[in-house]
């Protein structure tokens, strides 16, 4: 029963947050609604018995949040208090989101604690595959190749992103000084020629 309540609560929160994310005019507010959708979906994964997946998703989202926080702080001149002061504008919404997140966590914990003495949550997984075996096989089976490949893609992307963002402005923004001089000279010569033409 608790699982059903948790599912409908998480689903309602996910849909409502997604709607708020789409209709919010303020971009920062829209971005603040997005984690609520994300964590609701993590909760749904836990309800489906994929706790390991939920842990991974929370781990990645925390890393992403820390990265975005640092990026925002550096963009504001390296002062965290500036960033926090700007977030204070959304104090009411943040409190609402925190409350919803708390309810979700309580529901998921209730589901996790109540399922040990109840009927198996995943009757299908009981065909010889237990949760523990499932968790271990991800790290030992042939699926490891796919995971390593994805991690390599992620590492390449991170290195590419760092090199992209740390690059100085390119030639479009800062043209070569000699090139500018050449163009000015050519322009000047052309201007001079056009000035001279009427005389000739």
């Amino acid at each position: 029963m608790l699982t059903v309540i948790a599912f409908y609560t998480l689903a309602a929160v996910a849909i409502a947050s997604a709607v708020m994310f789409v209709i919010a005019r303020d971009l920062i507010l829209a971005a603040l609604w997005f984690p609520l959708v994300f964590y609701s979906i993590v909760g749904l994964n836990v309800l489906l018995g994929a706790e390991l997946l939920g842990v991974f998703m929370v781990f990645f989202s925390l890393i992403a949040a820390i990265g975005l926080f640092l990026l925002s702080v550096f963009a504001l001149g390296g002062d965290p208090s500036l960033f926090i002061a700007r977030l204070r504008v959304y104090d009411r919404q943040l409190r609402l989101m925190g409350g919803i997140l708390f309810v979700e966590v309580v529901l998921i914990l209730g589901h996790l604690f109540s399922r040990s003495d109840a009927v198996p949550v995943q009757p299908e997984l009981s065909h010889g595959v237990t949760d523990q075996a499932a968790d271990m096989s991800v790290f030992t089976g042939t699926q490891l190749i796919a995971l390593v490949g994805a991690v390599l893609v992620l590492m390449t992307a991170v290195i590419g992103a760092i090199s992209l963002t740390s690059r100085r402005r390119n030639a479009l923004q800062e043209p070569d000084f000699l090139d500018v001089l050449y163009k000015q000279g050519a322009g000047g010569a052309r201007a001079g020629a056009s000035r001279r033409e009427p005389r000739g």
Binding site: V22, G49, Q143, N170
Partner: protein
């Protein structure tokens, strides 16, 4: 028609319906806010998350682990896509002073 077993106490169709609704909302997010690149990226993430729900639900339904691994791979690739996307956005912001994608018309013929 084959009967749908309950997944985690809830029918599989409920998970599929939820994933469909989230996918449509993500699509709406892209279509309705075409100007903002950040919102487009996050809407893409929303669509990928809805696909993840489908994959995990089917994985639990069939008792197959491949779905979980597939979801992990999708998640990692989504993170990589987001990282690259935001790096490109930072470059665009440095060049143009805005993240409005309609202002970026350097590649227009």
């Amino acid at each position: 028609m084959q009967s749908i077993h309950a997944v985690g106490g809830v029918g599989l169709e409920a998970y599929l319906a939820l994933a469909a609704v989230l996918f449509v909302l993500g699509l709406l997010g892209i279509v309705a806010n075409r100007r903002s690149a950040i919102r487009t990226l996050l809407s893409l993430e929303l669509m990928l998350l809805s696909v993840n729900i489908n994959v995990v639900a089917f994985s639990a339904h069939h008792g197959d682990l491949v779905g979980w691994v597939f979801t992990l791979v999708i998640g990692l690739v989504a993170v990589a896509e987001c990282v690259i996307g935001f790096a490109i956005l930072v470059c665009i912001y440095r060049l143009h002073g805005t993240t409005d994608v309609t202002d970026v018309s350097m590649l227009k013929g």
